[in-house]
Symmetry: C2
Amino acid sequence: MPSPSNTPRTQIHRKPQRAHHEAATIRAIIDEALVCQIAFNQGGSVHCLPMACWREGDFLYIHGANNSRLTQTLLEHECAVSITHLDGLVLARSAFHHSMNYRSVAIYGRFEAEDDPAAKAAAFRAFVEHVSPGRAAQVRPPSPAELAGTRLLRIALDEAVAKIRNWGAEDADEDMAIPVWAGVLPLALGAGPLQPEAGCADRQPPAAPAFIGG
Amino acid sequence: MPSPSNTPRTQIHRKPQRAHHEAATIRAIIDEALVCQIAFNQGGSVHCLPMACWREGDFLYIHGANNSRLTQTLLEHECAVSITHLDGLVLARSAFHHSMNYRSVAIYGRFEAEDDPAAKAAAFRAFVEHVSPGRAAQVRPPSPAELAGTRLLRIALDEAVAKIRNWGAEDADEDMAIPVWAGVLPLALGAGPLQPEAGCADRQPPAAPAFIGG
């Protein structure tokens, strides 16, 4: 895919050292996302909603019910999509220099519908694999009625930008002697003990996504 | 605080069994957030950006540089704020019934500035305590110049709604015999090994927020 274009909307004016426009960087951040946030206008008001998401090729995918007002709005209007991984708390010697480490992506554009049943089936299979690698072959695939009742939407990654902060505290020289612990408290999404349904405890446990900690 | 009003924007039409309007529920979800997503319109386009956040009383607080275009826009226009905790992957026997467990809050309204230096100092102290309990007394507090250079913004929780999904898979009866593991793979933000700066390894380690797993 071409490097996402550096449009006025993807120029980072504040702290531009955190901005990244390379496609590989943007893809890698998206590929660790299970949820995105979508901003859109509807009914004269701006909204922000979380949606499950996954990437295939040069598109971010979401899905919703066929008759949903939200998916119809997203097909008719531009939106902004935000993905954020909070990677750590940056604990400085001064309150002012506290910060957070993170990787985020902003995507601008309009969603389009993918209505071809075979393409939808492949995309939902990829979604199951994203959520739990190896699982798509084990579960019942969507029926024609389930596929028809679900809308598959995708947005191109043509206009996107990543922001990354991944370094330590930046205290001023005059604060370096303050005798408090300073550094980074890393944060990551991790998996807890599995909660099997009745009758499932002895079955092969599901895999967590590779980017989820143990 | 009064229970957030059930306005047209906070009515949940799809899956209303997931909606919660009680103030205590909304507050509890906000209190586990370190980052929120803010949707707003600027320059003829909708945007969605992550911001650090914390709650005091009936307000969600954010901060930014005094001369930032973003904070100015947020003071002049309505926005929507979204907070989402991804709590688990719901793994069903059919691809169609896969889901996610989550707790989310949507807040509608307009940010206002809190410019009183004493109120700002107290709010930033609460922010440091939110990020690392007990830390505010150990670090250098903001100087008058630092306080003056930072904008403190808050939005009332008057128009807000929570959505929660916190149960297992909902497979159809005819899928119950499929011999795949089904249940919930819990997810939570956890702390990794501390990364101290040079000279800090032997100091009292910082506390993580109580809602962060070990």
